[in-house]
Symmetry: D2
Subunit: 348 residues, 4 copies
């Protein structure tokens, strides 16, 4: 794991702060809607303000009675309004908008939880390649909750992981850290994602009739989430996503080589060490998880099959792309930042 700059940490923050005014910018996209619905029922949220950056979106979120306000198109004005309305601001915006807003919000004293890719990549050249619409930024904490709690507690700016990297990293990092993976071996990640992963814009690609009865591959060798996975794993990754005809959920089939002699017990130990007691990671062993198991939850379920004779390992990792892959992991990070019970307002 890379080291984030110390500026993201505010040690003086009272960890027991049990309540907060929150705001969501970008409340009409799929992740934004989920955020609003979760925060509206969150026990520690004392007020919730929701803003939309697009003009065409609907003005209400299912399950929330409040009105979605237009966001000031000027970043300075938007930041001022958001910082006045909230202690913690969730950004569910395109990268360029997040890149413009987040530093101003932090400067105005708000804590920021960003769901875009604007602050995930640390290396400037890599960031410039994959997110040219953003600027170099110090201090963001990479919000893969289970693996970054200490840094998250005092973070001022959290870069929530992408949906695909969340499933991949939770599955591979424990094995890499336990030294079980063969040196220099390939990591192949074949992902199947529901169509909500393609966003709410109506395009030929998201038309029902193009998706129904179909599986389509995209982004081979040029998906931005590959860079995020490689940064965190510090190994090359071959990542191929596919759209499958369902609404929400991701299943990743991960192909690995383990060191000779690694046993199933070694794998169980490594995952157990990483996740025993974790409310939101299900270690399933040989019972391979499937998307329905995790839909609408904040859980990532992980199972595996080892062919010990050939040292080949297949790991299956599943989550709901709009929940653990986006909105509910953001709320989980909020819980950690606020010193709350990490499960507050979330479904396991």
């Amino acid at each position: 794991m890379h080291t984030h700059a110390a500026t993201g940490v505010v040690a003086e923050l009272p960890l027991s702060a049990a309540a907060a005014r929150v705001a969501v910018a970008g409340a009409t996209g799929y992740a934004g809607q989920e955020l609003v619905a979760l925060l509206a029922r969150h026990p520690a949220v004392t007020s919730l303000a929701a803003y939309r950056s697009d003009r065409s979106g609907s003005r209400r979120v299912p399950g929330w009675a409040g009105e979605i306000q237009p966001l000031d198109p000027q970043p300075a004005g938007a930041a001022a309004a958001l910082a006045a309305a909230a202690d913690v601001v969730f950004l569910a915006l395109p990268e360029a908008a997040s890149a413009a807003l987040a530093p101003a919000l932090v400067a105005d004293g708000a804590r920021v939880i960003d769901l875009s890719g604007a602050f995930r990549i640390v290396d400037p050249a890599t960031r410039a390649r994959w997110y040219p619409e953003t600027r170099d930024a110090d201090g963001a904490v990479y919000g893969l909750t289970e693996r970054r709690r200490v840094e998250l507690r005092a973070a001022r700016l959290v870069a929530c992981p992408g949906c695909y990297p969340t499933a991949a990293l939770l599955a591979v990092e424990p094995l890499a850290e336990a030294g079980l993976l063969a040196d220099g071996s390939d990591i192949v990640i074949d992902a199947k994602s529901g169509i909500s992963g393609a966003g709410r814009s109506a395009t030929e690609r998201t038309h029902f009739c193009e998706c129904h009865g179909n599986v389509s591959t995209y982004g081979v060798f040029n998906h931005r989430h590959t860079a995020e996975m490689e940064q965190e794993l510090r190994r090359p990754v071959t990542f191929v996503p596919q759209l499958v005809p369902l609404d929400r959920g991701i299943l990743e089939t991960i192909y690995l080589r383990v060191r000779r002699g690694v046993t199933d017990a070694d794998l169980s130990s490594a995952f157990g060490a990483a996740y025993d007691g974790e409310p939101f990671v299900g270690v399933c062993g040989a019972v391979l998880p499937s998307i329905r198991d995790v839909a609408f939850t904040n859980r990532c379920d992980i199972g595996w099959a080892l062919d010990a004779a050939s040292a080949r390992l297949v790991v299956v990792s599943c989550l709901d792309n709009l929940r653990k892959g986006a909105a509910s992991q953001a709320v989980q990070n909020f819980n950690v930042m606020m010193g709350l019970d990490e499960t507050a307002g979330l479904l396991a």
Copy 2:
């Protein structure tokens, strides 16, 4: 049935003409694509030219090697090009475009098969209300093939029925003509349609995630196909369509009152008289048809259940909205117009 003006009939046409050059205008919509795929394999088609009216559509049709050319945005130019390229022109365009093109094509000597609603409504006031973008026009033959063969043989301009009216009229007309329906009784038509019925444009309504897991009602008391059904049936119709999460197909549940004493045998007789020997209408009796039975075919399957004691009748009528409800009924009409075997190039 209303009487169409004689100008639509060209008695001198050689009925044995067994081959034709054809063109499709609007080849990138769902119905247009189906048309091209069907005509490309049609035994009597000697040449096929395809045109698109939109700029964004893809330039190839699955299953056809030809190039789709841009259609001249000026009606006069478009008509001249189409009439030069083809003996028979299929129009799969918006109503306004069809209304502008078809008369010019007929004037240029082409025979026209129009899939839009531009020429379906005979009464000027009714047409002006539901299709204000069109103009009054004489001479179109309403192309419900099984019921208009004589007129179709010599037609110069055919107005193919809407997808919903095709299923409704094939189911109700034989009963009305046999005098089995109770006087003045309601006709309620509850339709379930696949999403291709909403067209190829990418909108919030056609986004996969809005349709998946959903049923949605639309157009209650203001769907244009109601006027078409009422014109043909000469009775008031209550018609409510619903979008259901599938690609193609329509199932209509039709609620009728029959005269006291009408028996199941009477119904069988009426349907048998209408459709015995018809290759494309399946009379299913008590085995109610479902959409999978007719998908990808030119068939309309009709079943029913009678509660004789209360004189209530439920008729179920199914077809593929892109085939019998659009493209393949158009080809069936082409076969009739050309004096060909009516099943040429079609799947029953």
Copy 3:
């Protein structure tokens, strides 16, 4: 509404009883699983025991850590075990099993919430026709919560309504009671249901490939829910259900005739009078509801379109068949019976 016998009412019951030990018999069916998941998170449930009556079902419920025990196949033994384990017993069993168990449970001092059709029909001849596997029984309260609260508070045996009748009755009863419906007019109810409504047994009818891309009609003039609707509405009903390719949810399109002169405001008043302040009935007016609006909630959403000139009314009523149509309405009834906040443990 019919009058239930007084034996269903136990006026001496302490209404403030805020906690209960509960049991679910039939925990492996779709409704049973939902029940367990809801009750496991219910704030007033102090203990939860789950039983399965089938041998093949899985032994765990997603989202609940407990073990599902086998139910004694002998009714006496099963009743004794259930009554010992719980103050309130939910039965999600086939009709014959419910009919055998419920009276014994009541005799043993338990309160019973039955999700089957065993106790819904009051008239002995009607019950014997549609539910011959059951016996005449007095004292069950028909658990359409919004309309039976007074009786439910002290009920010992609650017959939860069927999924289809719940959507139909909540939509039609306010109009009938307000005197808005035309005398002697037909009531036509066309229902579209997700496949979970066909139950968990694996049959040709529930095979994915038979349902995908399909709509199929069943039970015309012989569905048991028709009797239930007619009992409550005291009018003849034409009811036709259809299976549509989605998991959960029902949308009913209801065709009615209103009295001459009835206005949209009259309809709004009637629905407002019935449901203002109700947390679980959404009165949507002209914005017709769809299944996605209510999936996973305990809500029934109702919208309508009136053609005042012809006095025709179309009402659309939506709910989640496994929630408001089964498990969560049962929990809502439990809340009423226990004197709890009616929304406890439920999602609106």
Copy 4:
């Protein structure tokens, strides 16, 4: 490729035989139904007899007017009946039934096209491990049409490939033969299959509600098709299939390492050399194919993405599991065996 014994070859067969009486045993499964539908419209089929081995299946095939007869449960009787009825017998039966029937049919003078796995595996030990219900058999020709035409022309017994191997082998064999793959490198094949691949039996796994909204992995390191792929490729293969919520179709994402220096042009050349002029293999290059492109056709479409710098190659191969993966490839083999135009009765 392994060498099949000469007994499978009947050089004296008149290759120009342009017509045949055919029979299908196992006509009620998904592949069997497709076979019947294809053969019923095949121009060279003079008579078609269909048999079912199960008792519960429906007795009609959509699109075919004939009756499906029961198959004699005694192999000798069944073989005699089939050989009397047909010159060519298609077996769409479980492996044990095919293993019992095929030799008797060949002995009775029929030519046999088997769709099961009974005769695919050549090595006795491998066969005994994966297909213990079968017996060693010489003389079957492995029916991957594009790559076995010479042997197929005179074959008496054809073992049609599995659906997954068909997609995999058509994609990988040309690269292996052209020497483009890195020595000793892994072959990872991640397959996504529609639910019809799980067969027609109604099980919990094929229940609509288990499949809807779901992706599930199965058979990791123990799927029988792995042995078939490894036999043909003579390399180890890591194969993982997934069920995705659609009806028909397979998309395989294949992860390969090429030799250093291999270019995109090398890949195009290899695929071009293998498939130029082939009517049923689409070489798509960088435009990755998807399932909708090939549904209902006999085509396998192949595309790829090369990362030349790292010598990683991703190949995407798509087909319809019931057509090119089963029934229509069997018909294609029939065409070759009969000396017919290979496209007779098939859709490209």
